[in-house]
Amino acid sequence: MGSYVPNTQEERQAMLEAAGYASMDDLFRDIPEEVKLKGGLNIPEGLSELEVKRKMQSIAAKNKVFPTIFRGAGAYRHYIPAVVGSVTSKENLQTAYTPYQAEISQGILQSIFEYQTMICDLTGMDVSNASVYDGAEAAAEGVAMCRERKRGRACISAAVLPSILETVKTYCFGNGMELEVIPEKDGVTDVEWLKAHLDKETACVLIQHPNYYGNLEPAKEIGEAVHQAGAKFIMSVNPISLGILKTPAEYGADVAVGEGQPLGLPLAFGGPYLGFMAATRAMMRKLPGRIVGQTKDRNGKTGYVLTLQAREQHIRREKASSNICSNQALCALAVGVYLTAMGNEGLERAASSCLSKAHYFAKRLGEAGFELENRGGFFHEFVTVSEKESGRALQALEEHGILGGLPLDDHRILWCCTEMNTKEEMDEAVRILKEV
């Protein structure tokens, strides 16, 4: 059996005696007998490190690692510079708790301050928190923070990632906000429908840009309509796209949220990822979660602390802006390292490669009988329609070690390209699909 208890049996006995206990069981004498577990836990005997490693390796081997991936839909395979993993595996940073004791947590605090700065730089917004759980949860928190006493209805585009819509729904089931889904038209949010449904009870409108189908939304027009109705405009954005795409701030967003996973985190079967959240200065005190601020110590030296804590659960309890306590700090650290390693040019190149490759692939897929469903602009995802059955097409790709796009139905597929996809891979996929 493995164990991480350092003390020997003799030492344990000596400690028990020093504290005045006869045995380990004696320590638990306050627990009523009738509630105690009889007969021990029904789980296997412990294992040595070598045995555990072998067992977990054998479990991991039951998964299929695809060398080529054309699937996104909320989780994206990008190149992660080696320095990212090297930093996030530094034990001090990895094993520390939330930085309550600022004097011995300056490293973590500074990394969060830098992360906040980078998220604001990417999105153009004024303030960022230190991360929430993921992109979908960030959207739900974003909706909740826009609620006002007389404005209790949220409008959310049907063209957002399904898990965003579902998560917002769940949060609204909790807090009682009313939710209205804006239908989609031609692969984007139906602006005319939205305009007809905005009123003085609308708290906010949430769109995703580029949306679930990869399409660029008429974000500027939507933002203007939302503001005319006196509501808040929330945009869920892909952070890689912000290397070249207009910022949420430039579109007029009050709150920008998104999935941070593309910025240096592996696919990892869906997590851990992180949700980023940024807002205008006017919305600062409504942001949920940790926020780090700069200040001075007693000697006038610059330092960093958790700040604006009057919003938080450990101070405000049931009146807090959110219940969040643990966030995704180590993932935020990874994002900071990733963006530092990429720099302006690296991020622009990643974004531009995504855009260009997706357009190249979309064009080539047309030759194989998979036509673009929509005519508007798109970033690195797009939907094709084909007479060929989705399942068969994807099966053919899978046999060649290629994870194709996500089947939306029997004839529509949502594809994704990133800088990881080479021209050869795309040409190969097209060759296979032509034969289906």
């Binding site: 509630v35 412990g46 034990e91």
Partner: protein, 480 residues
């Protein structure tokens, strides 16, 4: 120095090749107009920058970390090695089920073992942290009452000693919070609980052992009172590290439980996350669980509970954290799990008994995995507060206990040594605590000045909140 201040235009680390297809541009109206200010640094500068940040951070590996309620136990390295296997890290969450059988087996095994440890029937791993788990559990309770058309249950009972997340989660779930006072022994006041228990109560949230480190002996009566009034019992698993293998929340009468894998099951805290807050429940709530569950022994399938509350976030939770926790459970096994809890309790009582002649114990009796001291008397006598003692610990390489919590104890310091600390570490810490007490009596001024050996001294938090500076100002440099 901030990474932005180290940036030098022209530097960088070329990570990506040039694009190998024809370059495409975005429509003019959608092109980014705002300049980017990401740092421009060579790899060696990046590496050194973060090495410096690591040096300014105290982790579990730097020394004793008895932060109460947070279970800062050692994070085994084999967990990290397993969690970085490409067979786990390179898996897209939307791959077909037949290609992710390994990931599903991880969820299946973790669910099986954790249900056994907690006495629950099913468990979801979607919640990303403890508070997220609380919110999930409360929504299960809400969905349960709604399914029975029992619409008048609008209240959640929460003891005054509870973690702040409990009332905050209840509010997010649309409930009003009724605070149940603690009795003189630090446990639930049964009389007050009876008074509050009525047909408007949706449930009770409780930690047992509670936040003063005591096991509430009346637990069966407590859960019975709540059940009799038609409410459900929620177990906040923050303190499970005290009782694994000895007593299970399910056997105490709880209907729904959240765990903190980043506390009890040894996964790293990451400077604030990611954690994992799986929620287990008894059969009466399983139909409402969020997202999908894994079923099947030889071939795993995903199945959506019939009346699911929906999604709490995307995908299956913080999966790699679950991988680490499963690795830990497999390593310790049935006996090791129990042994871990026993030693956590032993270490806490050993420290408590070695300090109680000097420090006032808030409740002077056998504690579980943690104990709470009150420095109210010391403060009255010397002016030295819980904060001052905490800062004095920093100069001795020890992370302070949790300060000023629970709220029912004045000048509280909550000490949780965990089982992974050796007797020598505890003996050293005991000596430091004792000498700080002496220092408070003899030279309090010195403690008011602490810490003096850390990268910065005490920081001005008031100023930080009054004039928030939350980002680096690129200012003139950015425009130039």
């Amino acid at each position: 120095m901030l990474v932005f201040e180290k940036s030098r235009p022209g530097r960088g680390c070329p990570a990506l090749p040039p694009c190998d297809v024809e370059t495409v541009s975005l429509p003019a109206g959608d092109r980014r107009g705002k300049e980017l200010h990401l740092p421009a640094l060579s790899e060696v500068e990046i590496s050194r920058h973060y090495t410096e940040l690591a040096r300014k951070t105290h982790g579990v590996n730097d020394g004793f970390y008895p932060l109460g309620s947070c279970t800062m136990k050692y994070n085994p390295r084999v967990n990290e090695a397993v969690a970085s296997l490409p067979g786990f890290t390179e898996i897209h969450p939307l791959q077909g089920e037949d290609t992710v059988q390994g990931c599903m087996e991880v969820l299946h095994l973790a669910e099986k073992y954790l249900c056994e440890i907690t006495g629950m029937d099913r468990m979801t791993f979607q919640p990303a942290a403890g508070a997220h788990g609380e919110f999930t559990g409360l929504l299960l309770i809400k969905a349960y009452h709604e399914s029975r058309k029992d619409g008048k249950r609008t209240k959640i009972l929460v003891p005054d000693s509870a973690h702040g997340t409990n009332p905050a989660s209840a509010a997010m779930a649309g409930y009003s919070v009724v605070t149940i006072p603690s009795n003189a022994e630090g446990c639930v006041d049964i009389g007050k609980l009876r008074e509050a228990a009525g047909d408007d109560v949706a449930g009770l949230m409780l930690t047992n052992p509670n936040t003063v480190g005591l096991f509430d002996k009346n637990i069966l009566e407590i859960t019975d009172i709540v059940h009799k009034c038609g409410g459900l019992c929620y177990y906040d698993g923050a303190n499970l590290n005290a009782v694994m293998g000895t007593v299970r929340p399910g056997d105490m009468g709880f209907d729904v439980v959240h765990l903190n894998l980043h506390k009890t099951f040894s996964t790293p805290h990451g400077g604030g996350g990611p954690g994992s807050g799986p929620v287990g429940c008894r059969e009466l709530l399983t139909d409402f669980l969020p997202s999908v569950l894994v079923t099947g022994e030889d071939c795993c399938r995903f199945e959506r509970p019939s009346r699911s509350i929906g999604e709490m976030k995307s995908f299956y939770g913080n999966f790699l954290v679950v991988v680490r926790a499963l690795t830990y459970i497999l390593t310790l096994g049935r006996e090791g799990i129990r042994e871990a809890s026993q030693n956590a309790v032993l270490n806490a009582n050993y420290m408590r008994c070695a300090l109680k002649d000097l420090y006032t114990m808030a409740y002077d009796e056998t504690c579980m995995h943690e104990f709470v001291m009150s420095l109210a008397d010391l403060k009255k006598g010397t002016g030295i507060s819980a904060m001052d003692i905490a800062k004095g610990l920093l100069d001795n390489g020890i992370h302070p206990p949790t300060m000023y919590f629970p709220l029912i104890v004045e000048e509280a310091l909550m000490v949780e040594p965990t089982e992974t600390e050796s007797k020598e570490t505890l003996d050293d810490a005991i000596q430091v605590f004792r000498s700080l007490y002496e220092l408070a009596k003899t030279d309090p001024e010195k403690l008011h000045e602490a810490p003096v050996t850390t990268p910065v001294t005490r920081l001005d938090e008031v100023e930080a909140a009054r004039h928030p500076v939350l980002t680096y100002d690129f200012g003139a440099e950015g425009e130039a």
